[in-house]
């Protein structure tokens, strides 16, 4: 008997139960009298890092082998893995990257949801790996890809993943181990036996018949809120069909945010650029809507006091219908944010007073509001109700002025080039967030306008490439180091 051992590599994240999965496999092989060897690099006790477990199972029973003992490897060998099991998509991709998945040999069993790495999450915009590319690589490189995403259904979301993976592995029939041996291994190991057995059986079906549904990329969007009157809807139809979804969403957003006349103001502003090419028009439509619906205390209170929002929190916290949930809102408004919703005169006075001393300017007031309490909820509703007076507020007046200036810049840029107009429109995305984030964005926005946009317009030069570079630099690091480099005057630039 000189048959090759069956090689199994488990790729997981620390703390996900990959070790237990390896234990179960060892147990199942031993119960079947098969020589087995497993090893791992769990490393330190911490969680979250990528880790692997490697097993070899000899297909001939000990009884058949007599006294002969196979010599097995301690390391997975690229190009020589029969079964690859991964608890996450990126880790499956990493196994593919390392050559552990080959089209004529490897059964790839992977949970295809994403757990983002820190480096992906830190990005100021979107640093996530292109999941579709990883999925495609998994499908193309594996002999049999078995990719499934348990997080997509509430029915399977809470299942112990390692037991499902074990079931899927068993279901493929690649190991000369019968089902009862796997179940016996789960029982013998004694960890959460019943839930693991149930999950194992769900996995069995996936392994035997393939996953129920194919994995589709996320397209999560919240239900449309706010309604538009017939006349508004009619006005929206004046725009090219490609812009309609954005314009209609913008109208709904602004009616909800303020009122119908505010939405009409949006249409009026956008009307000036109606005949622009599609790319700048869409970008302007989007940025203008976001800018007009800028985030302030009133908006936050409005969003947080909606009953549907509490339902969302309850769902996210996985509260059952009979379980009360107390929600506490964590706020820390600065004097500036308070000044911004006050009427212009009053707001200015407060801001001037605050700016006289650094300690005042930095003053933030920590507030905890229990939004599920009667008082807390009414407080939020009161704050949300201030939106009637918003048009008289300091920030409203300032924002309208700045955005009019921006729109004028976009129009001037359009006279030079559509790509230039697009980039000037896109520049508005820097102005997002709250507190320091918002301040930083505002400073960067002004710096780019003064450093690139205005000089270019004055010289009637298309500065789209420089703008593109500056925008990327502005979101490259939170300290705006890179942007400083880009904007530093140099003979090569404008």
């Amino acid at each position: 008997m000189t048959a090759k051992p069956i090689t199994i590599l488990i790729a997981a994240l620390g703390g996900e139960g990959g070790g237990l999965l390896a234990d179960w496999l060892v147990g199942a092989a031993m119960a079947s009298d098969l020589p087995v060897q497993s090893t791992s690099i769990p490393g330190v006790a911490q969680r979250t890092g990528a880790t692997t477990y490697y097993l070899e199972i000899h297909p001939g029973t000990q009884a058949m082998l007599g006294g002969r003992r196979p010599v097995m490897g301690l390391y997975p060998a690229p190009g020589d893995i029969d079964i690859l099991v991964s608890s996450e998509l990126l880790e499956a991709g990493r196994a593919v990257e390392n050559g552990y998945v080959t089209p004529d040999q490897t059964i790839l069993i992977a949970a295809a949801h994403r757990v983002y790495a820190t480096i992906e999450k830190m990005d100021m915009e979107d640093g996530r790996v292109d999941a579709s590319r990883v999925l495609e690589a998994c499908r193309r490189m594996a002999k049999t890809p078995l990719l499934f995403d348990l997080t997509r259904s509430s029915r399977t979301r809470a299942l112990p993943l390692n037991a499902v993976l074990l079931g899927a592995l068993a279901g493929t029939g690649r190991l000369p181990v019968e089902e009862p041996a796997f179940e016996q291994a789960i029982r013998q190991r004694g960890v959460a036996v019943e839930p693991n057995l149930a999950a194992f059986r769900i996995g069995l079906a996936i392994g035997a018949k393939g996953p129920e549904s194919d994995i589709i990329p996320d397209t999560g969007s919240s239900p449309a809120r706010g309604s538009a009157s017939a006349s508004l809807a009619g006005a929206a139809r004046d725009f090219p069909p490609a812009a309609l979804p954005v314009v209609e969403e913008a109208i709904r957003r602004l009616v909800d945010y303020q009122d119908e006349s505010y939405a009409r103001l949006y249409l009026e502003r956008l009307g000036k650029v109606r005949d622009y090419p599609e790319a700048p028009l869409l970008e302007i439509a989007r940025q203008l809507a976001l800018w007009m619906a800028y985030e302030d205390v009133i908006r936050v209170a409005q969003v947080k006091s909606r009953p549907e929002r509490l339902e969302r929190v309850r769902a996210e916290a996985r509260a059952r219908a009979d379980q009360p949930v107390h929600v506490t809102e964590i706020f820390k408004p600065g004097l500036d944010e308070i000044a911004s919703v006050l009427p212009r005169g009053l707001g200015r006075s407060l801001r001037n007073w605050a700016s006289r001393k650094p300690s005042r300017a930095a003053l933030h007031i920590p507030v905890r509001i229990r939004s599920t309490g009667v008082f807390g909820h009414l407080l939020l509703r009161f704050a949300a109700g201030l939106r009637g007076s918003r048009p008289r507020s300091l920030r409203y007046i300032e924002e309208q002025a700045t955005l009019e200036t921006w729109l004028a810049l976009v129009e001037q840029a359009a006279a030079i080039g559509a790509d230039f107009a697009f980039e000037v429109a896109r520049l508005a995305k820097l102005r997002k967030g709250y507190g320091d984030t918002w301040r930083r964005g505002q400073v960067n926005f002004s710096a780019i306008v003064a450093g690139i946009v205005e000089p270019a317009l004055a010289a009637k030069v298309n500065a789209a490439p420089q703008l593109r570079e500056a925008i990327s630099a502005a979101v490259a690091d939170p300290e705006s180091v890179e942007l400083g480099d880009v904007l530093r005057p140099s003979p090569a630039r404008l």
């Binding site: 590319r133 999560g220 919240s222």
Partner: protein
């Protein structure tokens, strides 16, 4: 320690003929007991922590055998324990992670090796080298050579490892020399089995004590004895060792049909070489190889006769030796030269000088060797196919993936109490500018990685404060030194705190007081909460007794307060050592204790409040500042639900343990109003349900959401 090792202890009790089953490091532990050790000491660290954890819980069982066990204060203490074998016929063992632990132990080891032993002394080191290692990359081999201790590198097979430990004790006694047995990470975690023997009750032990001390000036490490000891090493101990290794066949010679070439390897790499040969079609599943193999289960000293006999008549021999310098290759070349043999030794020219010999490295190297050696009688066709196949798989994958995937190093756990300290330092840097951080060994070393990137040097365990001594006087701002409670007791108290006080350094020290040596698997220390009769000395008390005047205990999760206190320490006019004690228990330990308790209460129908945090996806604008300041694994991303936006929003997933750091950071940094805290009342009482009904009515929840009476 919240885990139970009852099952492992049961395995250690096994007797003659029973099948032992478990991890390599447990097999080694069993081997020690079968060899009749009287005492065992050690300091925790991967991959040998398990040995200590299990024995620590197995005190009762060890007591029955009369075996004394100690969780030593550090590796130096563990090595010094072996002094018992200098004068008395007592077998003992010490264990630690190498090479870091061997560094700490070196003083004691040098003296032990010089004095020599009469009882077998065995040092089990976990060779933490390569993939998954958490320390600097060095070899234990150098220590063995410089102090003249024998180095075993057993073939990773449970039965053979156990036999070799037994032989190692005999070798130690036959040569009056301590023996080091090194085991790589994968061998320690290797699951396998072997036929057990009875544990041996040592002749001298706590059950049968000595009454008379032995005085022998020749065993004192002081001149003139040291000169004689050196002579004894050369003239007596080494020849005895060469003789014993050969006579007892500690190294293994596996015959092969090919007569022209051969492979000499470190025992620990045997399986990997065989695996490569199997892939190339030159070995069968049972290790039967066409190429002869000399497996060195003892890598120091090499037995010249054994090596030259193996090489004689061969045109080329591959030496497979992991890490640098290439001690074995150099020694082999010298031996063949002296024996006037012309066999070509091939080693680091086909295998990399540094780094772990993984399967693909091994396959490439062995393939290159055989292709280069062109031995007669071997069918070389297809030899390179396996290596080529691996290369193609990697190349095709790279093309499909379009670029390297992001790395995912280990990091702070969900709810880790050390993370908030670094969030606070990040915020402090906004006020004071960048600060030099003298980092230390422990989970807190992860502060040097994303998203914090805090820490300018790491010099060794417990050396955070000491490593600031030369920086502080040369820096305009104070330096922050970090030390864990593990490092504090390991040696930080003396080399750091005492040194700082004596030299009147103007330093700031943060001690991470999480209650355990957490990075090595939550072992208890002197400041851990009380267990049994063990005394407890808090870090605060120890510092106060040392005369530290400025001590501020802070609860880690209070990021704002932590920042204020650190700022005070950095800016106060008070000179001298200022210590911030960051107090919060290791979250893994907390969860291990709290989760089963909550489950039990829930099952019993008792009221249990579960807390978790979240982000309003409509409020979040997707800047991810919160992530850059926290790095919690459960604070992640999801697609924005807003059709007008592009960037993903922050999202707290279901692994949240409700530590509240994300909200604390949002608060301390005045980030945004997106965070919420939800307290879910499980098994609500009458009052809960009544109030909830009123609140639901006020909020305007649809009827279905109003909690029904049961």
């Amino acid at each position: 320690m919240e885990r139970s090792f009852a099952k492992e202890i049961e395995q250690l009790r096994k007797g003659e003929g029973e099948v032992f089953e478990g991890e390599g490091i447990m097999a080694i532990t069993k081997a020690l007991l079968q060899a009749g050790v009287s005492y065992i000491g050690g300091y925790q660290g991967a991959p040998v922590s398990h040995l200590l954890d299990v024995l620590s819980q197995g005190q009762g069982f060890l007591g029955e055998l009369g075996v004394h066990f100690e969780n030593s204060a550090n590796e130096a203490a563990a090595a010094a324990m072996l002094a018992a074998s200098i004068n008395y016929p007592i077998r003992g063992a010490a264990t630690w992670k190498s090479t870091v632990g061997t560094n700490v132990a070196s003083d004691a080891l040098s003296n032990l090796a010089s004095a020599g032993v009469v009882g077998g002394a065995m040092i089990i080191v976990g060779e933490d080298y390569g993939e998954g290692a958490s320390i600097i990359q060095e070899r234990t081999h150098a220590f063995a050579m410089k102090s003249q201790m024998w180095l075993m590198d057993p073939r990773p097979d449970h039965g053979r490892m156990v036999e070799l430990i037994a032989k190692g004790f005999e070798l130690s006694e036959a040569t009056n020399t301590p023996v080091i047995a090194e085991f790589r990470i994968r061998a320690c975690h290797l699951h396998g089995r072997f036929i057990a023997k009875d544990n041996v009750k040592p002749a001298v032990s706590s059950l049968s004590r000595l009454s008379e001390p032995v005085f022998n000036v020749g065993r004192i490490s002081l001149p003139p004895s040291t000169y004689l000891q050196e002579k004894h090493k050369i003239e007596v101990r080494l020849p005895a060792a060469l003789d014993f290794i050969r006579r007892e066949k500690l190294n293994e010679h596996f015959e092969g049909s090919c007569k022209e070439i051969g492979i000499i390897l470190q025992g620990g790499l045997y399986n990997s070489v065989v695996k490569a040969l199997q892939q190339m079609g030159l070995a069968d599943a049972f290790g039967g190889s066409e190429i002869p193999i000399l497996c060195l289960n003892v890598t120091y000293p090499l037995v010249p006769g054994e090596v030259t006999e193996f090489c004689a008549g061969k045109t080329a021999v591959l030496v497979v030796e992991e890490g640098q310098p290439d001690y074995l290759e150099q020694a082999l070349n010298a031996m063949l030269r002296k024996a006037d043999l012309q066999t070509v030794i091939v080693g680091k020219s086909v295998l990399p000088m540094g780094g772990e010999y993984t399967a693909s490295v091994m396959l490439e190297g062995v393939t290159k060797f055989i292709e280069g050696a062109v031995p007669q009688g071997l069918d070389l066709k297809g030899i390179g196919a396996a290596a080529e196949r691996a290369r193609i798989a990697k190349r095709d994958a790279a093309a499909l993936l379009g670029g390297p995937l992001p790395k995912r190093p280990a990091g702070f756990c969900v709810g880790c109490p050390e993370r908030p300290v670094f969030s606070a330092i990040k915020l402090l840097e906004r006020d004071l500018g960048k600060i030099h951080i003298a980092a230390d060994i422990g989970c807190h070393s992860f502060s040097t990685l994303e998203p914090f990137n805090l820490g300018n040097s790491i010099l060794g365990y417990g050396l955070g404060l000491s490593s600031s001594a030369g920086v502080t006087p040369n820096f305009s701002k104070r330096v922050i030194s970090v030390m864990g409670d593990g490092g504090f007791w390991h040696n930080g108290l003396v080399s750091g705190v005492a040194g700082s006080l004596y030299n009147q350094q103007d330093s700031v020290l943060v001690v991470m007081n999480n209650g355990y040596t957490s990075a090595t698997g939550q072992q208890s220390i002197l400041s851990s909460k009380k267990e049994g009769n063990r005394p407890r000395v808090t870090i605060e008390k120890a510092l106060a007794m040392m005369g530290v005047g400025w001590i501020r205990p802070v609860r880690n999760y209070s990021v704002g307060k932590m920042k204020r206190v650190l700022k005070e320490a950095m800016t106060t006019t008070e000179k001298g050592l200022k210590v911030v004690i960051a107090n919060s228990e290791c979250q893994l330990a907390v969860q291990r204790r709290v989760k089963p308790l909550a489950a039990k209460k829930l099952a019993a129908g008792e009221r249990v409040v579960r807390t978790r945090y979240g982000v309003d996806d409509e409020v979040c604008t997707g800047d991810h500042s919160c992530i850059r300041l926290s790095g919690c694994p459960s604070l992640t991303l999801k697609d924005t639900p807003d059709p007008l936006r592009r960037d993903p929003v922050a999202h707290v997933n279901n692994e949240c343990v409700g530590c509240g750091l994300c909200a604390e950071v949002a608060d301390a940094a005045a980030l945004c109003p997106s965070f919420w805290r939800a307290d879910v009342v499980q098994n609500p009482g009458f009052l809960d349900r009544f109030l909830w009904r009123i609140r639901s009515w006020v909020i305007g929840l649809p009827k279905a959401q109003v909690a029904p009476a049961e």
